[in-house]
Structure formats: structure tokens, C-alpha cells
Amino acid sequence: MSLAAFSVPHLKLLLWVGVAVVGITMLLLVQTVMLRVQLILRRRREQRLAALWQPLFAQSMAVLPQSLPPIARSDWDAFLRLWNNTQESLSGESKHKLNQLAWACGVSHAAQQLLSQNSMRARLIAVTALGHLQEKNAWARLKRMADDPHPLLSLAAARALMQIDAKTALTELLPLFTRRHDWPLNKIASMISEAGADAVTGPLTLAVESAAPEDFPRLVRLLNVAHSEQALPAIRRILQSAADDRVISSCLQTLTDPEDVGLALAYLRHPSWFVRVQAASALGRIGSKEDLDALIAPLSDPVWWVRYRAAQGLASLPQVTLDEVRQIRDRVNDRFAKDILTQVIAEKQAS
């Protein structure tokens, strides 16, 4: 007996679903093949463009070529990517010379047109090109884009603004550096270092001095790419009056001047372990043989990292020999202190 499970309409419906699925599958197959064909054609076009333009880019480093081939509308995307990538690999005067070629080719106009497109990829390419070109006329649009919720687009626009005029851009961007947690710190640091320490030290130091405790660690980490010695007076002032653990910990990381030993010593017994870790590290960095005794107590700290940094700091103090460290190890009674010193001695011997 055959089970008449499905009424004819049900069966028909399911049959049509099946047929539709198979039909869609065939269309997807065709689409996959089409994509591959497009990819092959695009790569060929890119190779052709690269073969034509790369020698011209190289030539423009010496002298701007007299005549330049026209760029077809459909080639602008690939051309700008090639030009952007070449710009990224250059520095100094060469970048400026490649810009002259770009001005002659009409890169500014093409990039500003791409900026209006819906495609995020096209806009990213255009923003990057306008940054390299230092196109002041795009400032207002780039400034608006730096506020865009899309992290990549806003970040690329921020970088372009920094490339156009770092000092003016920094005043606009500093609030965003702390507010935009979707901007990775390494990328902000990267764009700041591109602008150069001279341009960024002043505004960054001012921002650090007036930063809220929650923004402070982010800004202080950016000081690494600035002239940190110029920011030191501000750091000292903050360390003398700061109450927030995050602020203290961040400030201690920036200390590089032996004059600040007192500040590091003051925080060696702080209740927060991550402040003690930074104090011990700072003391190892800027302390002298006179500070040796101060680093012995933290060798027995309940937190492994404090013990380890104290031991490392102790072993790296100037004029402290490995033999002296061994003597300290033999002298201390605490097992944790002995163990951590033994480890650091072995590390020193191996390095």
C-alpha cells in the first residue's frame, strides 16, 4: 500500500521548491564562473596598468615625464590603488615627486569623484589617495568622514587629515582618539608617527594634562611616538597629584629620566599590583645602585609579575653585577624571592 502522505498540492509545492533550488544552484554556478572570468580580466588590466605606469612612477622621481598616457574611466580604481601602494613604500622627497605626477594626471579630481561613490572600497581608496596628495580642497569632506561611524572609513579619513596638515588635524582629532574606541591604538600611533614627533608632541602633551582618568592610559601610550622628554614635566606633575591607579600606572611607564627615581620609589608599595609592577620596572630602568635595597622587598610580593619585574630591575641596575645578584639571592630568606632571582640570573646568563 502506498502511503498517500502528501496531497497533490503539497507535493506540487515541494516539487517546485526543489526545482527552484536546483535552478538557483545552476545560476550560482554560472555566477561563480563569471566571477572567475571577471577576476582574470581585472588582473590582466592591473598588470597592463602596472607595466605602463610603474616605469613612469620611477622616472618621475628624477624628472616629471613630458607626456603622460590618458587614464580610462574604468582604470581609475586600479590606477589609484597602484599609486597608493607606491606612495606607501616611499618617504621624504620621493613622495613629493610622485605627488607632482599625480597632480599632472588629475588624481585629485578622480579621487574626489570616487569619494562620492557608494562603494566603501572606492571611498577608502579615494580617501587614502587624497591623504597622500595632501589635497587641502578635500579637507571639509574628509573632516566629515572622520566622524563617520564606519571605523575604517573614519580612520582612513583621520589619517588623510593628518597627512594634509598634522597640527590642525590633531586639534580636531584628539577628542576622537580618546572617544573612538573602535580605532585601534596601534593605527592611531601609526598615523601620529607618520606626522613626526615635532608636530604632535605639543598638542599631545596638552591633551594628556587635561585628560580624564579613563582617557589617560590611551593618550599616554601615544606619547611614545612623541618627544617624551618634552612631555615629562607634565607627567611629573600628574604623578605627584594623581589618585587614579590607571593614570599612575601609565605615567610610570613613560619615566626615562634618572631624576624621577623618587617618583618610582614612592609607588613601590602602592595597593594596586599593576602600579607596583610599573614602579619596579621604572626603577630598573632609571634607578642606580643606590636603589638596590628598595627593590629587595618587592621580590617577596604576592604577585608573580611584581616579583619578576623587581628581579629584572634589580639585575639591570647600573654597576650591579650578576655575582652581586647571586649574593642577594643567597642572602634573602623568602623562597619566592630566591626562585625569581634564580630565574632572572639564568635569563641574564643566557642572553
Partner: protein, 451 residues
């Protein structure tokens, strides 16, 4: 008659199950498509030279138990990774072969008096060695305690804030670590990132790294490429978009060390420790209401040799199903948890119904329909429609996965490779997929009866 009503209901159940499962996968692929579009755009910018660098230091952990044959090659290749600062910690889990001797000979190991900090409890660590040639290489010798315990010992010894667990059969690319770490740079809330396994059979290798992808000569391995694209790669990418990825291969994952320690490290009582850790991290962080990200990296970063015999593949799938069952049941509280968000209300039930119990329904569906047809209880029209839907949807999914691959990474650049893959995505649905379902069903039964 009652039994006819039952059989009627079963027919509907199996048909609707197949439709629901495949629609679920299709929706996941659509989510993947969106995620992939964003990812590829980000990729374009991230690869510009000015945006590279600043990667955090990372500890690479290699658990080793009787790995004398391959451990030296793996460590040698890892030492050449293109990454600014990393350390390698090989944890020898009481091997009774020459694993330690091979490492000692090759890397000039010397005893190292480390103040070992046991933040996660486990079996005793006997000795710690350090390489005199490579200061960033340490070897920990410990009592045998299993893979989870071995990884926990590695976490205890790790110095850096991130760690990467690498299994001894891994094949990496020189930039694998850079790619896997990128989510941590781009979103500070990231606590874990993992990638899908890519198939390395017949690929080109140099100095232990994979340099060029190729399609395997073995048909079975080729089918596994299609299977991995469909289920592990773009499925996971879709879940990642919802921050609800539950199944990530533990053979290559990067984790924030402190978060894993807070969660108690790898669970020693389950064989699927890597899979379980991901589920437990979701469990812990969702229930605490802590914002976090667990990200799936779709890039080709981790490769492994796929089994080329049916026996080996069967064993692998059985173990996989067992591990999946373990990792879900241990964290069952997460299912429909008020605080669990997309993990509790979408990913967990989906994985339960279509991945964990799915092989049972799939196998039984086929068996029921075939037997019903053979005995004349099911008409040829119904049987044909069932096959059309089951196989048609399967092909559609596989083709969609290949399309996504074509939109993104173009791992197989030659036209002949694409042609071979196109044939494979169609053929995969005639036998291979059903066999894998059967093996996974056996895995499920073994888990039920032998746990």
C-alpha cells in the same frame, strides 16, 4: 490507522527538517557574505604598510605527546614566523618516545630554573629547559596529564598577554600569526580568535611553511575541502558576525591569557577541550554581562593534512562528533539563558539541532525514506521530491560556499582548479555527505552509550 498517521508525520518531519537545516545554512551564508564584504574591505586597508606593526607579543604553546617524528620540524618552522615578538613553549606531556631528546639535540636545550607560577592547577612540572640557540624557545617537561592539562601548563609558563595554541600536526603560513592576531588589534574587546582548517594535501611547502595551495589528488580529500568551505568556514563566519561562533578548530587559536585563566583554563575532563573552551568563554562572559568578542578569522592561516582513506576519515568524524557533544553538554546552562543573547537563543540551539543531533535526523531521514520507498509505503513521487530537496539544497549550499570563496580569498587560482571544485561541489552530495552524516551519527551513539 495509527501507524499511517505516524509514518505520515515522519515523512513531513524529515522533509521539513531537511528544508529547515538548509535554510539555516543559507541564512548563515548570507550573514557570511555581509561579514566577508566588511572583512575584505578592512583587509585592503590593513595590508597597507603604514597600518602594519604594533602587534602584541604572543606565546605559542605546542602540546606534545610522542611527537618525536614531527616536533623538530614544527618548532623550526615556527621560529621563522613573520611576527615581531613571540616565544615558543613546547610542553612535553610525559612522552615515552624521543620527543624531548629530539628537541634537546636540535635546539641545544639547557636546564632553566624558572619560578613556575601555577595559576591553573594540573599535573606536576618536572623540568623546564631553555634553548641556548633560541632564547625565545622553552620546553616544559611534565607528568602525563592529557592535552588540556598540557596546554594549561603552557599557559602557566606563558609570559605574554596572548597565547596561541598550535597542535603538532599544524601547517602554517609565515604570516599566520599576524592574521590571527589582527582581531585583537582591531577590537580591544577580543578574547579569542580562531580560524578554519584548510586542507594541505599535495600543497607546496617550503621550510615547514605552506607556500602555495593545490587541490589534492585524492577524491576524499577534495570532498573534505568542499565540506570545510560549507560547514566550518562560512558557517563560522556567519556566526562570528553575531559574536556567537561556537565551533572553532582548536588546532590553531589565539586567546587572551588572563581571560582563559579566569575561566579556569582548558577542561581536563573532556576530550574536546579546545571546542569546549570557546563555548565556556561565551558562557562565562555572557552570563557576567561583560562585553567581549570571539572572532572567526576566515583567512587561510592554518592547514592540516586531511585523511585520504575512508577508515581514517570515519574515525576523525566520530571523534569530532563526540567532542562536540561533550562541549555542548558541559555548558548546557547556556541554552536559552536570559543573558546569553545570540549565543543562547540562536547559535546554541542551532548547533544542537543541526550539528549535534543533526546527523541522527539526516541518517534516519535517508534510511526511513529509502526503506519506505523500497517497501512501497512511500510513493516514488514523494521519494523523488525528498531526494530533489535534500540533494538540491545540499548542492546549493556547497555552490554558495564556493561562490563566497571566489568572492574572497581565491586560494585556488588556476581555472582547472576551479573546474575541479565545481564538479566536486556537485558530486559531494551524492554519497560523501550522507556517509559523513552516518559516521557522525555513530559518533553520537558512541557518546550516548560510552560517556
Amino acid at each position: 490507522m495509527n501507524w499511517t498517521i505516524w509514518l505520515n508525520g515522519l515523512q513531513w518531519f524529515f522533509l521539513l527538517y531537511f528544508i529547515a537545516m538548509n535554510i539555516g545554512y543559507i541564512l548563515l551564508n548570507l550573514l557570511s557574505l555581509r561579514a566577508l564584504k566588511n572583512y575584505m574591505e578592512a583587509q585592503g586597508l590593513a595590508d597597507l604598510p603604514a597600518h602594519a606593526g604594533y602587534e602584541p607579543p604572543i606565546s605559542i604553546l605546542i602540546p606534545a605527546f610522542n611527537e618525536a617524528a614531527r616536533i623538530v620540524d614544527l618548532v623550526r618552522s615556527l621560529l621563522q614566523l613573520d611576527y615581531p615578538e613571540f616565544e615558543i613553549i613546547v610542553v612535553n606531556d610525559g612522552s615515552d618516545d624521543n620527543t624531548l631528546a629530539a628537541l634537546q639535540r636540535e635546539f641545544s636545550l639547557v636546564l632553566f630554573p624558572e619560578a613556575y607560577w601555577q595559576r591553573i592547577k594540573g599535573k606536576g612540572v618536572r623540568t623546564i629547559y631553555r634553548s641556548s640557540n633560541h632564547p625565545n624557545l622553552r620546553v616544559i617537561e611534565k607528568e602525563h596529564g592529557g592535552k588540556a592539562d598540557t596546554l594549561n601548563a603552557g599557559i602557566n609558563a606563558a609570559r605574554y598577554p596572548l597565547f596561541c595554541a598550535v597542535s603538532a600536526d599544524s601547517i602554517l603560513q609565515s604570516d599566520s600569526l599576524r592574521r590571527a592576531v589582527r582581531p585583537f588589534l582591531e577590537n580591544p574587546l577580543t578574547v579569542a580568535s580562531g580560524g578554519a582548517v584548510r586542507i594541505a594535501n599535495d600543497c607546496e611547502m617550503r621550510n615547514g611553511f605552506l607556500t602555495a595551495a593545490a587541490l589534492p589528488k585524492s577524491g576524499l580529500a577534495l570532498m573534505q575541502i568542499v565540506e570545510s568551505l560549507r560547514t566550518f568556514l562560512f558557517g563560522a563566519m556567519g556566526w562570528s558576525e553575531l559574536n556567537a561562533v561556537l565551533i572553532v578548530s582548536g588546532a590553531f587559536g589565539v586567546f587572551r591569557k588572563d581571560t582563559v585563566i579566569e575561566a579556569g583554563g582548558y577542561l581536563t575532563s573532556t576530550p574536546g577541550e579546545d571546542m569546549e573552551l570557546i563555548v565556556r568563554l561565551h558562557h562565562m562572559l555572557r552570563l557576567r554581562g561583560v562585553p567581549y568578542r570571539i572572532t572567526f578569522v576566515p583567512d587561510p592561516i592554518f592547514w592540516t593534512k586531511a585523511p585520504e582513506s575512508a577508515g581514517a576519515l570515519k574515525a576523525k568524524r566520530i571523534v569530532w562528533q563526540h567532542r562536540l557533544a561533550q562541549s555542548l553538554t558541559v555548558n548546557m546552562q547556556l541554552l536559552f539563558n536570559r543573558k546569553g543573547g545570540a549565543v543562547s537563543w540562536l547559535a546554541f540551539p542551532y548547533v544542537m539541532i543541526f550539528e549535534w543531533l543533526g546527523p541522527m535526523f539526516e541518517t534516519m531521514g535517508y534510511v526511513f525514506m529509502i526503506l519506505g520507498f523500497a517497501s512501497g509505503l512511500i510513493s516514488w513521487q514523494v521519494f523523488s521530491v525528498f531526494l530533489l530537496i535534500a540533494i538540491g539544497f545540499g548542492m546549493m549550499l556547497s555552490v554558495t560556499a564556493l561562490l563566497l570563496e571566489e568572492l574572497s580569498f581565491h586560494i585556488y587560482p588556476r581555472t582547472t582548479q576551479l573546474a575541479k571544485l565545481l564538479i566536486a561541489v556537485l558530486l559531494e552530495n551524492f554519497g560523501y555527505r550522507q556517509r559523513v552524516s552516518l559516521w557522525r551519527f555513530i559518533g553520537l551513539l558512541r557518546w550516548i552509550f560510552h560517556r
